[in-house]
């Protein structure tokens, strides 16, 4: 009923190969983007923008980065926060040391630095896989944070190793209100998500998935595993690096290396597991789940005026229980639930 595609015929290859082949999807997504870009910044409260939506978008981008590596290329990684840290601290250094460098260029360069670190630490993936690879990416996590605390140059000789993000100025416009920062983050995230979606649909993405599904077979049919895996590491780290820079510049403002600890890596890993491994939409849904649910539970517990210590423990319990529940009901994550829902809507009211 809602999803009837009757009358939507594809007569060209281009129309058959669109990202969203169904018209309703295109309209819905266009409407959502319009809403997010034009209506939300005007009407949402500063709290909503700066404490909920901005971190949600940034974590979505980081989850997308990890999803490229883990979900599409099958390389388990625990170093996401480290790549984010590289992006943030590299952007900081580019802006601090090259006065007048365009902000967006600094973010891109920060992302490229993260990509290089990603390639370096992706090298073990050529020999090991699965849990062993997770352990070696864990080394990235510790190594990068160690470097940032040990090498004063990286933090511009700040005595305690903490950096202060410079003001975001792009084309002379200063992004200092929550609404403007939100629009900036949204634009970057939307653009990069679109890029990722297209990359995954192209030859590159197919090579990643081939390696993920069976690397020996992928090699036999002509994909070069080394190039494929390292490319996945580079692209994934680039995404994480940009997310890390945004985390520092558009969200935290002042960062110590500890902000990018192992805990953050785990949270992003949970995001893609709950959202859906190997799905762009899943990265967004997972980030929403992990960022919003604790906040919602916390507000709920507050409004029921539970004592704070009880409330926060209850919050952890409910959160844990929900994760287990979701994974039992739908091990493929929220994205899969959405897909099933869409199928159902397509067939409704006729189940067969």
């Amino acid at each position: 009923m809602f999803y009837r595609e009757a009358g939507q015929f594809k007569t060209t290859y281009e129309s058959d190969g669109q990202i969203f082949p169904i018209r309703q999807d295109r309209i819905a997504l266009g409407g959502l983007l319009l809403l997010a870009l034009a209506i939300v910044p005007v009407f949402a409260s500063p709290y909503m923008l700066s404490a909920i939506l901005i971190p949600f978008l940034i974590f979505s981008l980081a989850a997308l980065g990890l999803n490229i590596l883990t979900g599409y290329c099958g390389q388990l990684s625990l170093g996401t926060a480290a790549f984010m840290a590289v992006g943030a601290f590299a952007s900081f250094n580019f802006i601090a040391r090259l006065p007048g460098i365009p902000m967006l260029l600094a973010f891109v360069l920060g992302g490229l630095c993260a990509a290089m670190v990603g390639i370096a630490f992706g090298l073990p993936s050529l020999r090991i896989r699965g849990f062993y690879l997770a352990a070696s990416t864990l080394a990235t996590q510790f190594f990068v944070v160690w470097c940032l605390t040990k090498i004063p140059y990286l933090t511009n000789y700040s005595s305690s190793g903490v950096i202060t993000a410079q003001k975001i100025v792009i084309f002379g416009y200063q992004f200092d209100t929550p609404a403007s920062k939100y629009v900036l983050v949204l634009a970057i995230v939307a653009l990069m998500a679109l890029l990722a979606k297209n990359m995954i649909r192209s030859n590159v993405g197919r090579s990643w998935m081939a390696v993920r599904d069976m690397d020996v077979a992928a090699e036999v049919i002509g994909f070069r595993p080394m190039r494929t895996k390292l490319l996945a590491f580079a692209v994934s780290s680039f995404y994480c690096g940009v997310a890390g820079a945004l985390y520092a510049y558009a969200y935290l403002g002042t960062v110590e290396p500890e902000a990018y600890n192992l805990d953050l890596s785990f949270r992003i890993l949970f995001m893609i597991i709950i959202g859906g491994v190997g799905s762009v939409l899943g990265s967004f849904l997972g980030a929403a789940f992990i960022v919003l649910l604790p906040v919602f539970l916390n507000i709920l517990a507050h409004s029921l005026s539970l004592p704070t210590s009880v409330a926060s423990n209850l919050e952890l319990m409910v959160f844990g229980a929900l994760i287990i529940f979701f994974l039992i009901v739908e091990p493929h994550g929220l994205a899969r639930l959405w897909q099933v829902g869409k199928e159902k809507l397509r067939l409704w009211p006729f189940p067969h």
Partner: protein, 430 residues
């Protein structure tokens, strides 16, 4: 029916009527690895608020507060700060008790006009109110603590000149927190000619075998334990196992609470640490027992923790905040609710001297705090306490103050560098 009632409570909570109370935002933490510190500190502050309210408030103005669980996580902390800052007519003050969160909200404070206190942590250079008008590292910062540590060790050895040739190990939590005192310690090592051996412990610090082996080989005269959480009791126990006398260990004030020593058992006996409170019982604590806990309004679940190190630190914070409200009311109107800007003025013009402490029933509980635009710290004095196996006992009768000229110079240099980086023109606010 149940869901309707739930909805009604929810709507009721969201449409709270703006109350005529002084609102203080408490992004606190009571779960997670640092729960012991958080629950004690915020418990103390809330106990003091309850006492003030039971006594009729500050010139009739009651104090209102709201907590929000941060789990010590910067991301959650910022969410909490953003959520609380507009509630109940706007927060007039905030205290996250976390370096990460404090750094995260640092830039927002000036825009939102909300002052933040960072009691005994955070940016030491925020003592310069010309660059950081809205940040108050009250009582003492890490730099003054480090200077006081050297002063104490010098006194113990019979003067600064006796430090020459001595070996001091700085055993630290490998994070911004542990590295904060290094500029002071390095400068003093050069000045007085002692050897500073820096040994890092990877967080969280539950594994220190190799570090203590290194310490045993170096045979230092003193070990400064700049630890945090689980690292402290592990250090104390490992020191015992390696036969290092605990009397020679001097902890930072985050390594000197009952929560650090009791789990270490016998090993902690004789261990010394810094503190900015004098352990003991005070008329104020008795009053809190009588008026707050007896009427069931006490915040600590375990009443044995009343008067413990973290609880007293929370009480101290509560006293300073309420005094700031009082000072601000004297200028801007008694019986009125102070805005964030007015509260900032109050915090900048504090003068909690011994006479005032006596009046509050807290004589000697913390050093005299007198702030100004130049000095947002207000004191810089600390004490050294020793664990006797059951409780902490102050072993320096007077407050210890280190080389303040040195720390002041560091504050100036560092805050001016920050001002240059952020393009701030240092100036005093009215």
């Amino acid at each position: 029916m149940k869901s309707i009632m739930l909805c009604a409570t929810l709507i009721g909570a969201f449409n709270q009527v703006q109350a005529a109370d002084q609102f203080i935002a408490l992004p606190s933490y009571r779960v997670g690895p640092y729960a012991a510190g958080g629950s004690g500190f915020y418990g103390g502050a809330i106990d003091y608020f309850n006492l003030i309210n039971a006594n009729g408030g500050v010139n009739g103005v009651k104090i209102q507060w709201e907590e929000c669980e941060t789990e010590y996580n910067p991301s959650r902390g910022i969410e909490c700060y953003e959520r609380l800052k507009t509630k109940n007519g706007g927060a007039s003050m905030v205290e996250p008790l976390s370096t990460g969160i404090a750094y995260g909200v640092l830039d927002r404070l000036v825009q939102d006009k909300i002052p933040m206190t960072t009691l005994g942590y955070g940016r030491s250079d925020a003592a310069n109110g010309k660059v950081f008008p809205y940040v108050f590292p009250l009582i003492t910062s890490y730099w003054n603590q480090a200077a006081a540590m050297i002063k104490y060790l010098a006194d113990k050895n019979g003067g600064y000149d006796k430090l020459k040739g001595k070996k001091i190990v700085h055993l630290y939590h490998d994070s911004a927190f542990g590295k904060e005192p290094l500029p002071v310690l390095e400068a003093q090592a050069k000045q007085y000619g002692f050897e500073l051996i820096k040994i890092a412990v990877a967080p969280p610090g539950s594994e220190q075998q190799s570090q203590w082996l290194q310490i045993r080989q170096a045979k230092p005269d003193h070990v400064i334990l700049w630890g945090w959480g689980v690292m402290n009791s592990v250090a104390i126990k490992t020191a015992q196992r390696n036969g290092f006398p605990r009397e020679k260990m001097l902890g930072v004030w985050w390594a000197g609470s009952e929560e650090d020593t009791i789990p270490s058992g016998d090993a902690a006996k004789g261990y010394t640490s810094m503190t900015f409170n004098t352990p003991g019982n005070y008329p104020l604590i008795d009053e809190i027992r009588k008026k707050v806990y007896a009427s069931g309004k006490g915040n600590l679940a375990d009443q044995a923790r009343i008067g413990s190190v973290y609880h007293m630190r929370g009480l101290t914070a509560g006293i300073l905040w309420v005094e700031a409200i009082r000072v601000a009311q004297d200028k801007f109107g008694k019986g009125k609710i102070m805005t964030g800007e007015q509260m900032r003025w109050g915090l900048e013009n504090l003068n909690v001297d011994e006479a005032r402490q006596k009046a509050l029933g807290a004589f000697g509980m913390f050093p005299t705090v007198k702030t100004s635009c130049d000095d947002h710290e207000g004191s810089g004095a600390v004490k050294v306490q020793q664990w006797d196996g059951k409780k902490w006992i102050a072993i320096t009768p007077n407050w210890v103050v280190g080389d303040k000229a040195l720390t002041r110079k560091l504050v100036e240099d560092s805050s001016n560098a920050y001002a240059a980086e952020k393009k701030i023109t240092p100036s005093c606010m009215k």
